[in-house]
């Protein structure tokens, strides 16, 4: 696995979100994959401390399907999002176990109707090769203002 392959994967993941290909995005996760957005700075436990999001594939599927639903009033009008990534850095590499960890600082913009909000975050991707394809085992998103009084974030950072 080259650095460039890992970088390309993380960049493509953000692009799928920006272009609202949410089903394809969800396919990037392993069956036991999680998306985690902590609410506390440096949070280590997702189970007995709450989070903004700690979602397995079932919960992510609910989110993705909900975005398409006709009764989803909070998506009428729809939100849009935009990621600007710094080049992902390869933090860990286990070629034997085919597991990799990348770290990606980013700016994320979410907009809906006349309102646009900027968030800054670090994304940590725990990636693994599953059946010859790179997949996300864990995507951890640390917002720089994770513990602030936030408004709605409806899409995926």
């Amino acid at each position: 696995m080259t650095d460039q392959q890992l970088i390309d994967f993380v960049v493509r993941e953000a692009r799928l979100l920006d272009q609202q290909h949410f089903d394809d995005w969800l396919d990037l996760f392993t069956e036991d994959g999680h998306y985690w957005m902590p609410v506390e700075w440096g949070q280590t436990d997702p189970r007995l401390t709450t989070s903004l999001m700690y979602e397995d594939k079932l919960l992510l599927r609910i989110r993705v399907d909900r975005l398409k639903g006709r009764q989803t009033y909070s998506q009428s009008p729809k939100s849009r999002c935009h990621h600007v990534l710094q080049t992902p850095q390869i933090d860990q590499r286990d070629e034997e176990g085919k597991c990799y960890v990348t770290w990606t600082p980013m700016h994320y913009v979410e907009s809906r109707a006349d309102r646009q909000t900027l968030y800054a975050a670090w994304a940590t991707h725990h990636l693994a090769m599953v059946d010859d394809a790179l997949k996300i085992r864990l995507k951890r998103v640390d917002l720089v203002n994770c513990d602030a009084a936030l408004g709605s974030i409806q899409l995926f950072v």
Partner: protein, 436 residues
């Protein structure tokens, strides 16, 4: 100045079955709420487990007033106005922490003992032969005059007018009791982190929604309804996940909500879920019932756990979920801005699985990233915007109204009644005009 000092104009805003839009959108009315409603009633400040050691503090607000809750002696907690008597500087930076034996102002190093009294002023001789000691500055940080610690829950009342603690809450304290009694040792502590979600709507919209049982199956069809649809596709035999146990009951039928009942208490308090609630059918935590039986005896343990109150409103701005140890505080910021804080508690001595579920519930339902939260905020914000319309200046609260409501106390109504919302507005008028 349409409403200030005008008792008649204020009372005219609340009719038996409708309220005027100004209670939600008028900035002067919001200011009057802070001066009267949030000063004449008992407002939740915090939990004693947030200030365990002498010198521990927690900074928050009562209405829009900045206050500090502080452990001033091993057995007492004070609530102080959070401003230096010198220039007004707020004395705390962090939301919570340990201040040692004194609060020290970062501006000129005036120091205050934990009861708020002035301990020291640099170059004190500069005030020799003045009235300093008798003045506002010399008396230190102003304490909130009325503070009550009820089984660990600390409330404050800013004004001298208004009822005493027991009189204000009365029977409604049974919901807090039930939540605390769910610990085998009768003790709670704040745990699991707090979720803070900013809402661009009036605080009362949130409070009313807590006993609005005709909205979940509509507003939350997008989230809870989708959860049920997705779960249907799970392979047969898959164990129902905790998340589905939490989401699915939101889609219960009108009949479910009608028959759960609403209990109406004095002074604007009330609760949904008299006979059952969306929390009734959660899986048992292994070992918990045995712990409760050992602590209370089987009959009493059953009585405590059979109580499944859905949402208890402590008027004006608290919602409590006893069965899952969750407290939501609707902090008013402006007529069209409210900070919602969702706090969770650990049942001391009980299995971690209960805290795990509580923490998950909070995340799934109350986070700024919660799909259920998105559903609710959307309708609040649309209401806040729609109320600008001059086509109709009144909000309707008429469902299942009967003319003899005001003289009834501690009664149970149909679970889809808007009686509790009317009850809140009767209390609103009472405390808005008290002492005027």
């Amino acid at each position: 100045m349409k409403y200030r000092g005008n008792r008649q104009a204020i009372t005219a805003l609340v009719r038996e079955t409708e309220v005027h839009r100004d209670v939600y959108i008028d900035p002067e009315m919001f200011q009057l709420e802070m001066e009267h409603l949030f000063a004449n009633t008992w407002i939740y400040v915090g939990h004693e487990s947030q200030v365990k050691k002498v010198g521990d503090f927690y900074a928050t607000t009562i209405g829009t007033q900045p206050v500090i809750m502080v452990r001033d002696t091993p057995n007492s907690i004070k609530v102080l106005h959070n401003r230096c008597p010198h220039k007004g500087t707020r004395l705390t930076g962090d939301a919570c922490g340990h201040t040692g034996r004194f609060f020290r102002c970062p501006y000129h190093a005036w120091t205050f003992r934990l009861d708020g009294s002035l301990a020291g002023v640099p170059l004190k001789s500069g005030y020799d032969n003045t009235t300093f000691a008798e003045g506002h500055a010399g008396s230190g940080m102003t304490p909130v005059r009325h503070v009550h610690n009820y089984r660990g829950f600390v409330f404050g009342k800013l004004n001298d007018v208004g009822p005493g603690f027991q009189e204000f809450f009365g029977e409604a304290l049974s919901s807090l009791d039930n939540m605390i009694d769910r610990s085998p040792v009768g003790k709670l502590e704040v745990a699991g982190g707090v979720l803070r979600y900013m809402h661009d709507c009036n605080w009362k919209m949130l409070v009313e929604n807590q006993t609005d049982t005709c909205h979940p199956m509509i507003a939350h069809q997008s989230s809870a309804g989708t959860a049920i649809e997705v779960w249907k596709n799970a392979p047969p035999g898959t164990k129902k996940p905790m998340a589905v146990e939490i989401y699915a009951p939101f889609m219960s039928s009108y009949e479910f909500y009608q028959s759960m009942g609403i209990r109406i208490w004095d002074n604007g308090h009330g609760h949904t879920g008299v006979s059952h609630s969306i929390h009734s059918d959660y899986s048992a935590a292994p070992g918990y019932f045995e712990q409760m039986t050992a602590a209370y005896g089987e009959a009493r343990a059953k009585a405590i756990l059979d109580e499944n109150r859905h949402n208890t409103v402590y008027f004006p701005n608290v919602m409590l979920k006893g069965p899952i140890q969750l407290l939501r505080l609707f902090k008013p910021i402006a007529a069209n801005k409210t900070l919602v804080e969702s706090w969770t508690f650990r049942l001391v001595g009980a299995p971690d699985m209960l805290l795990e579920r509580t923490v998950m519930y909070n995340r799934l339902i109350n986070a700024p990233t919660s799909v259920v939260g998105h559903d609710d905020l959307e309708v609040y914000e649309r209401a806040q915007a729609g109320l600008a319309s001059d086509g109709n200046e009144w909000v309707n609260l008429q469902r299942l109204y009967s003319a003899n409501e005001p003289e009834q106390r501690n009664v149970v109504a149909d679970g889809t009644s808007e009686w509790q919302m009317r009850n809140q507005f009767r209390a609103w008028t009472k405390f808005m005009t008290m002492g005027l």
